[in-house]
Symmetry: C2
Subunit: 347 residues, 2 copies
């Protein structure tokens, strides 16, 4: 029996993970569930955004379904106590280094995008973002310069092993899709990027069937607006991936529909909707549960060896949307529960 | 008499700066011009992308009109000999720390944008990007880890003086416009950003008339797609500014129309079109000279104390476009020279 850790977190996290859990339970698979608090909710309950019991559950579980973290009442806390530290801590503690962020236009959802329909319709890409290194986890701090000035610093770095394992994840993803991998860096300025590019090129030797290209991050930010349909798989570092994956999601428009995965080398993963905790609508039954439900589908595919069940969930979400069911973020009137019911009915 | 250094550079740089110079000459102001090679052109002519004579001219000049650098034949050179080093070197040597990047929709140009016309039409923002610090100019290199692995590293940092002077540039720009400043950082992860945010907030004490907000860079990349019309002035660091300013330009769509300035504390500046060297169309008379011409207008306004002449140029470009003249990038058939002629005629 596979153990699923449910970490609902803050804001709308509990509402959307509840629906995703109902969908998982309906499948008739041999799954068990355990819940634990995370983020601001955990800080308020246990004094830390990632309490030991939550981390322990995450370690024991076969996969993690994560809601969202982010809580305005924690804004003035020290950085290490803020909700965001929970997700950073989980990624690092469990070596979840490979973030998969699919961005794909759902049929009939073009209206939700700020891009022209003919541009938006062509979006079907996956961003493979590195999650365990880069300027996120380097030495950092405040110091005083020789002139007595306050200075903040953060060291950006990657070593060849870190780059190789994410490059492999990128090539593997490209191989399963349309065979195109675009590696994004800033090698004209950064030594970290130069090493990144060198190692990606070395790794390409094992993937003759994949077409590799390179793009500077500033140009990538342009191309994702101009013609996002040109991309199949993008592989990039933690910081550039943070920016570009959110940009790509917003190009799709309907961020209430977009799931994500964060995987370790063995395929254990943390799955979360890309939307945040949305404190403004929390607890009102307005949130769109589809991204959490589709995150559960990714979990079945990537961590639980149940690709057919994943397909079923994805088809059910598509069918529920095709039948006209919409939550408020997509201009509809369904509640979170009604949307969940619609997916269950389609299952 | 003011001395203008013309650094045409690579690709389409010479073609577009030629037209901008013709426009400047037509104004009847007391200007003199001196040209020098830069970028790949300078490497081929003098063995270095920023030869001493070019740097010396740039120092002597009252303002610099820059074309573009970027030359595929230099791709395999050592980083310090590549064309890009010329622009990085000029920014640093002349302490051009404040990059002004206006992104504004020209009337009738909505078709060039991948955004929906109603979204694109609202774009009227300026990005104030820091150019002298950040991970661009920190200590960097390749080293070997304890495990014997190659590692690339780059130190990101800002001190309070660096942040304060660019924050002031941002607040001043906002005061001249709609009074809204959005500072963009990643303070939930980076100490450099935490200092950035602290100092921007301190600086705000002198600008009670400006409304200051803060946004994380990943959210900013989303908001620039979803609703770019929400922004007036954005102030941000060198790396985030590189990415977001190119994204914002592409939201406008017609990058052949977008100028930029890089200023020192005294208002001396380097002015360049934001499009690159476009080697694929170089020397064919196809390039759009408007961005270079509008860069010359920015020069008149920011470095030469000739705001009326700047207005005249901007009106002439708008008139030429309104009369239907278009280069190929905007779907027209005008040559570079014909477009320049049309602006001169409208002057
Ligand atoms: C909350 C924050 C630390 C996090 C990140 O930057 O990685 C978030 O933006 C994300 O992309 O999951
Ligand atoms: C050429 C490159 C070094 C430069 C930068 O990153 O600053 C360019 O992208 C720019 O924005 O002017």
């Amino acid at each position: 029996m596979a153990l699923i850790a449910i970490l609902p977190g803050d804001g709308i996290g509990p509402e959307v993970t509840t629906e995703a859990r109902r969908v998982l339970e309906r499948l008739g698979l041999d799954l068990s569930f355990e819940e634990a608090p995370v983020g601001g909710a955990a800080y308020h309950a246990a004094g830390h955004p990632l309490p030991p019991a939550t981390l322990d559950l995450a370690r024991r579980a076969d996969a993690i379904l994560f809601g969202a973290v982010g809580d305005p009442t924690c804004d003035s806390l020290d950085r290490h106590l803020r909700p965001e530290q929970a997700i950073l801590g989980l990624r690092k503690a469990l070596t979840l280094f490979a973030n998969l962020r699919p961005a794909k236009m759902f049929a009939g959802m073009e209206d939700a995008s700020a891009l022209r329909p003919e541009v938006a319709r062509a979006i079907d890409l996956v961003i493979v973002r590195e999650l365990n290194g880069d300027v996120y986890f380097g030495e950092k701090g405040m110091r005083t310069t020789a002139d007595g000035l306050r200075q903040g610093y953060d060291v950006m770095s990657y070593d060849e092993a870190e780059v190789r394992r994410i490059a492999v994840a990128g090539f593997e993803a490209a191989r399963r899709r349309r065979g195109k991998l675009c590696s994004i860096d800033k090698a004209n300025v950064l030594e970290t990027s130069q090493l990144w590019r060198d190692v990606v090129i070395e790794t390409a030797a094992d993937y003759a069937d994949v077409t590799l290209t390179h793009m500077y991050v500033d140009n990538a930010a342009m191309q994702l607006v101009r013609d996002p349909g040109q991309f199949d798989v993008i592989v990039t570092g933690n910081l550039f991936g943070d920016i570009l994956s959110d940009q790509a999601s917003m190009c799709v428009g309907s961020i209430g529909l977009l799931p994500s995965a964060a995987l370790d080398v063995a395929g254990k993963g943390l799955y979360e909707p890309i939307h945040g905790s949305a404190p403004d609508i929390a607890g009102q039954g307005k949130a769109n549960p589809c991204a959490a439900i589709l995150s559960a589908a990714m979990m079945l595919r990537h961590s639980l060896g149940e690709p057919a069940a994943a397909d079923r969930i994805e088809a059910a979400v598509a069918a529920a949307l095709a039948s006209g069911k919409r939550t408020a973020d997509l201009g509809g009137t369904c509640s979170t529960r009604e949307m969940g019911d619609a997916v269950l009915a389609a299952l």
